[in-house]
Subunit: 247 residues, 2 copies
Amino acid sequence: MTPAEPAAALSKEKPPTPRERARTQTIADIVRIGREHLALHGAAALSLRAVARDLGVVSSAVYRYVENRDELLTLLLIDGYNELGDEVDAAVDAMPAHDFTGQFKALAHAVRTWAIREPASYALLFGSPVPGYQAPGERTTVPGTRVIVRLVGVFDAAYRAGALDAQVTSAVVIPPALAEDLAAIRTQMNLAVPDASMARGVLVWTSVFGAVSFEVFGQYGRDTFAARDELFEHQLGVLQGVVGLQG
Amino acid sequence: MTPAEPAAALSKEKPPTPRERARTQTIADIVRIGREHLALHGAAALSLRAVARDLGVVSSAVYRYVENRDELLTLLLIDGYNELGDEVDAAVDAMPAHDFTGQFKALAHAVRTWAIREPASYALLFGSPVPGYQAPGERTTVPGTRVIVRLVGVFDAAYRAGALDAQVTSAVVIPPALAEDLAAIRTQMNLAVPDASMARGVLVWTSVFGAVSFEVFGQYGRDTFAARDELFEHQLGVLQGVVGLQG
DNA sequence: AACAAACGAGAGCAGTGCTCTTGACTTTCG
DNA sequence: CGAAAGTCAAGAGCACTGCTCTCGTTTGTT
């Protein structure tokens, strides 16, 4: 079909046959409908039969495209991680390269905004594990770590630029066992930021997700906190100080 | 039956008939078996039929005691809240009355220990909501707020005793809308602690649960952090500084 | 003793995940 | 070109779920 046939013959990427194209499209449709059902009814209520109905096909047919229910959950998991990762990347990239505080807050706001917009996906990614389902690490680890990788990237860049207050880093001692873990991460990710700042970065990470989880999962109660935007913004302000970012 | 029949007629508390006793016992058995199933298979996989089997009874019989599956979930929810609340209370009470930092850390450790021991219950209480299930606020609010009530109690007592560093409280401004929410809570709970400390207390609360959730829900990855005890302890040390508790 | 409430068992309905077989269609290759 | 190989949708079927209803039996009260 393509004029450069000999070159294509060497590469693994053959031009997709109509059948392959149709198959890819069908899988994409299944994921799309699955996302709708996920948003409407939640992860545990996700039903392959219902997806098949919406697809206009009998239930057994979808098993041609998706191995089982867990496989669909994995596809939705990766889809969610990447959507969140894309929005976080876009939000951070929109900030000036040297405004590390702005980048941190933009990242946190992107997480919160996405979580509130897609609570079911957020629950699938960061909530209680679905019983009997174990995410395949080899497929989910990379997209699943995009946010934290980006966050420590911001902290590391801030440290290298001298924008990370070194004063806070000596307040609490780091036990040796924890220092080992941090050293391994530093080596693996090529970081410069010292132990104390890394540890505080981890705390900031968990705190952001704790705050978002409380809000999305309804732990704040019905109307205990009406000013949730202000509460989150305030928490970011405090966390910014925790990790030593100037305001 | 009872000799003091006229008095008993006025009071609502009659001595329980054998049938009532048996009924109460059966419900307790159902909750006990339900807890076992919850721990083994998770909340979404909780099955009334399986509970009935373990109870040695046909499935429709349990509907005599429990209205439906959601009712059983509510019972397990209240059960979990109270067990956690009891352990938190015991841990805090075991500390000296003026060691507020120790009380805070004891509370956090009690939460973490219980969560790791009962991950399914923790997921039911603080994880993603079960699809289609809405907890009845009138039955779950009181037990569900025991931990946070106790935590702000510690902070408030520390403030009244002058053990809360007032310096940290002015670093970040509190927007008016948030101050309103905080004022309402202060009035309702009869607190003395100022806005900034309350807001930081809320952050500490969400941060503790964020850290515990990450650990219980497996967000830390398989072996990124081996020294989890040390990590949590370090985080508590930082959070202690965030809220202004002396070390 | 008579009656009403409570109870356990069983059948049954509609839904689920998943497997297997059947028949039709498409692509590829001799 | 035609046959073989591969792919697909459909349907039946199994075991499970939540839940309802009916039917006798047991229990407690009058």
